[in-house]
Each structure stands twice: as structure tokens, then as C-alpha cells.
Symmetry: C2
Subunit: 171 residues, 2 copies
DNA sequence: TATTGTTATACTCTATAACTATA
DNA sequence: TATAGTTATAGAGTATAACAATA
């Protein structure tokens, strides 16, 4: 049944966009919108892999290294991230969260989680349990460190292949 | 079991962020990054509710009306959206997709869907079926037109309540 | 010479404030 | 007077290009 895969992907796409919107609304609704979503994702990454480098982070979040360097500069300035040059290779930097960074991450995550929980509360318990199982399947498939080859290649090679850069800036 | 709801929300949050990242990577990887994600979401909304107004769209996507006005100006310029003043109330505008707009939306959606399908292909069929069910539960809970009261109130009221606007611009 | 990260510069997105047109 | 949308202006985010420091 070849359509099953496409149907599944379509349903996933729709639902993820819907849920993501709820997360955005929640993040915007805070009195102090402490974090942008890219910053949120950066903190999540650093928290998950402390001591990672700028390049790794940039690739994961999907920014160029100059942009990420600037973002990190801001986060260091706010005391959320610690940036230390690596002992073995002094060109690199090691990124870790400060206590404030961890606290803010937990707060942001908690707020989003709370907003989702409110919506989910209207689901029957059984459906919630199924949902948890499904989310774990998703996490397994999407969190693999090696991204699908096509995506990675495309991401790396698309720019060099272009002869005239169409000035696609600022997302 | 009160923790179950929180666990569910936490799993959902993690997974949605992961999947969203895959979608972003895919959209960025195109030769011609035709649409930003906010533009993508605007087209989705207009497609779902043709004839909607600028304010409705802005609220749904989560932009101010001036920002949305500018975005629409661009989309109209590209021939993707049709903007007509409303007959009953000539202050309002009715937004609809052009044929090109629908085509581009389908293309963008298809690309994202394809990227997701590639990841999902490694899931056993049974897990995919469970996933589809779970996504339908999610869609049911998150697509309700009346957003949870707290979120809507927060969104509307937070700015007027502030005495000193902390210049939170540019997301 | 190659690689990691930063600085310089420019452009896009989005916001707030002020305005126009209509109700 | 209140409301829908636009225009004016400014700030934040991100990109490309050029550079500095280290390997």
C-alpha cells in the first residue's frame, strides 16, 4: 500500500504545523518574550550536547556560522551561555549553558509544555497513551544524528552550485 | 495519574520541534526558497479559508496587521494571492489564492511531505498506522477554532498592559 | 594551506506609531 | 468615534564576504 506512507507524512505535516503554531502563540504571549524560537532551539541543543562547538550548533539549528556567532554573543551577554575556547584546538569554542541558561530553558520549555498539556487534557487517556507511543516512534526516526543523505547533501551543496546567488537572506 | 498529561505534552513538544526542524531543512534546501515559513503558513490559511480578511490572517499566523499587510503586498506582487476589497464593508479586504498560489502551496507542501515520508519510511507499517491515528487526535484537539481562553487573552492583552514597551521586534 | 570562528556590511522581516478610508 | 488596512520608520535577525587565529 504505497499511499499509506504519503498519507502518514501528510497527516504528520498538518499536525506538526498546528502544534507548532500553538507553541509560537504561547511563546509570544509571555510578558517577557525572553527567547526567539531559534534561540530556544539553540539552548535545547547546547543542553543536550554540552561542550559542542559553534559549527555543530549552527548546522543543527540551521543558521550560518556568522549568524550563530552573533546569536551566541547575545546569549553570552545575557549570561545564558558560557563560551570557552577549546584546550585541544584553540580555534574551537566549547558551548555550555550557565545555571541561568538552564533555568530559562526549563521555564520556556515548561510554558510550552503547559500550553500543550492544556490542549491535550481534552483527549481521552487512551488516546494520550497512544500519542506518547507515536511520539516516541517519531523521536526515534527524526533524532538520528545522521540526517537523510539527500537533505544533508542538498544543504551543503546547493549554494556552491549556484553561479549567481539570488540574495536569499533573512529568514 | 496526573503526570501522564505532562509526560504526553513533553513528548509532544520534543517531537514537534524535531519534525519542524526537518521541515525547515527541507524548505531551505530548495534551489529557490520560494516561501518563508510564515508565508507558507499564510498560504495554508488562505487556502483553508478563502475570502478571509487581513486581520484574521494576521491573528492566525501570529503577525501584526502592518507586517501581514506587507507580506501580502509581496505575495500579491508575486501573483500568488488575490486581494479584493470587500463589497459589504469596503474597509476590509478579501484574500484568496490565485492558481499560481495554489500550485506553489502544493509544491511546497509536497516537498515537505516528501522529506517527512523519507524519514517515516523506516518505521514499521504498524507504527505508521498508529501514528496516523495519533495525528488525527492531535488535529482534532489543536485545530479547534476557539483557542484556549488563556492563550487568546494573553495574546490580546499583554501589550496594552505594558507601560514601557521593551522594543521586542523582529522575530 | 585548511579550518574555526569573528567582523563588516547589506538586506529582509517584523514591530510600533501615525495615517487614510470607511462604517 | 471606532475599525480595517496601509504607510513611515526603526530595530533585530540572517546572509555573504572578508578577515584573524590556529592547526
Amino acid at each position: 500500500m504505497p499511499s499509506s506512507l504519503q498519507v502518514c507524512a501528510a497527516e504528520l505535516l498538518d499536525s506538526v504545523l498546528l502544534v507548532m503554531q500553538a507553541i509560537r502563540v504561547e511563546m509570544r504571549s509571555r510578558r517577557t518574550p525572553d527567547l526567539t524560537i531559534p534561540q530556544f532551539r539553540a539552548l535545547i541543543f547546547i543542553n543536550r550536547l554540552p561542550g559542542g562547538t559553534l559549527s555543530e550548533l549552527a548546522e543543527n539549528v540551521g543558521l550560518t556560522t556568522p549568524s550563530m556567532s552573533k546569536m551566541i554573543e547575545g546569549l553570552v551577554g545575557k549570561g545564558l551561555v558560557r563560551r570557552e575556547s577549546c584546550a585541544q584546538d584553540r580555534r574551537r569554542v566549547n558551548l555550555t549553558l550557565t545555571a541561568s541558561g538552564r533555568a530559562l530553558l526549563e521555564q520556556a520549555r515548561g510554558g510550552s509544555q503547559q500550553a500543550l498539556a492544556q490542549r491535550l487534557s481534552s483527549l481521552p487517556v487512551q488516546e494520550r497513551q497512544s500519542l506518547v507511543q507515536a511520539m516516541r516512534s517519531l523521536a526515534r526516526v527524526f533524532s538520528s544524528e545522521e540526517a537523510p543523505p539527500s537533505a544533508r547533501e542538498a544543504k551543503r551543496n546547493v549554494r556552491p552550485l549556484k553561479t549567481v546567488s539570488p540574495k536569499r537572506t533573512g529568514r
